[in-house]
Amino acid sequence: TFQPADRLDKPAIARYSRQLILPELGVKGQLALCGTSVLLVGAGGLGCPAAVYLAAAGVGRLGLVDYDSVELNNLHRQVLHTEGRVGTPKALSVATAVKGLNSTVQCVPYHLQLNSTNALDVIKQYDIVVDCTDNVATRYLLNDACVFTNKPLVSGSALRLEGQLTVYNYKGGPCYRCMYPTPPPPETVTNCSDGGVLGVVPGIIGCLQALEVIKMAAGQEVSYSQRLLLFDALDGTFRSIKLRPRQASCVVCGDAPTVTQLQDYEQFCGAKACDKTQSLRIL
């Protein structure tokens, strides 16, 4: 397992000098950050900015999960990939970019699809999980796995010219199922392939996810637990919403949970765990 250092060496002091002088971080916060492991699921439009700012800030270990490989049509928003890495697994491509920036971060690429059989094994090795995925089924999977392993889930999403950000399962706040007990009808779900997205929108949301993780890891208060940030890029406006608390009736994190192990989320949602097709034909 991951063994964080108990002091900053000379190169680390040089590298992080501009943030070490912040009273809100300081050496103590930096050591905490360097001692934190973060699992980032989805190495796409949200995952690229989140990964690069987490690595720059010096998280100790960064797990990067993506089953997909880089395509040319990703490059308008997935800014850590390159033309030369088209065809490469995205998790590896992001790991390559991140290691070039900060070789002192332990970078662990996972070129796999998270599912009910492997999710807990991966997630339990990390302190914080960042949801940068692109589909409903994986969002429920990550939520339930984070509830079972007691990990906070920093969730971002983006589509067209809008973005959303919230933190689930943190310090008594709600989980994804508290908010959305029933999955949306598959025909109402639009993905980035069908609906499009302006690249800088997930850019902004991914940066804000990194910020929430950094504050959490450094012992500062998190801003979006039991709150939802809405971003409208056309108006340039941000709106902060107060959300419900953890729900006693929640089937996974409530007082009498009925979901106690991971299930088949593609079946539960009636949709594939990717953004390539809109719904399962078999239903």
Binding site: G42, G44, G45, L46, G47, C132, T133, D134, N135, V136, R139, G156, S157, A158, L159, R160, E162, G163, Q164, M179, Y180, P181, T182, P183, P184, P185, E187, T188, V189, T190, N191, C192, G195, V197, P202, L228, L230, D232, R239, S240, I241, K242, L243, R244, Q247, D275
Partner: protein, 108 residues
């Protein structure tokens, strides 16, 4: 002579907003300032949903309402607060309320 007073709720001016894709069902218009007419009962979100279905929604109402509530995946906000904290369907609308319907995003 006796006076009969019929209790009527006054008309209510509110703003309705749709985002996250919910606006696609409303001619792409994100904000609608509407006057709900006088009603025999106070206006609630429950009766508002019926009014929206009958007056604003032109097609495919099942993408917005299911039974007497919003379909799964739509979050309702009352003046920037999750409707779960405000009584959900039973919340009684007040003058100048801002009711927002957000379709949750899943893209990344």
């Amino acid at each position: 002579m006796s006076k009969v007073t019929i209790s009527m709720a006054n008309s209510v001016n509110i703003s309705l907003e749709f985002s996250g894709g919910a606006e696609l069902l409303f001619d792409m218009v994100k904000r609608h300032d509407v006057t709900l007419p006088e009603n025999s009962q106070p206006w609630t979100i429950k009766s508002l949903l019926v009014w929206i279905r009958d007056n604003l929604l032109k097609e495919r109402p099942e993408l917005f309402v299911q039974g007497d509530t919003v379909r799964p995946g739509i979050l309702v906000l009352v003046n920037d607060v999750d409707w779960e904290l405000m009584g959900e369907l039973e919340y009684q609308l007040e003058e100048n309320d801002r009711i927002v319907f957000i379709s949750t995003l899943h893209g990344g």
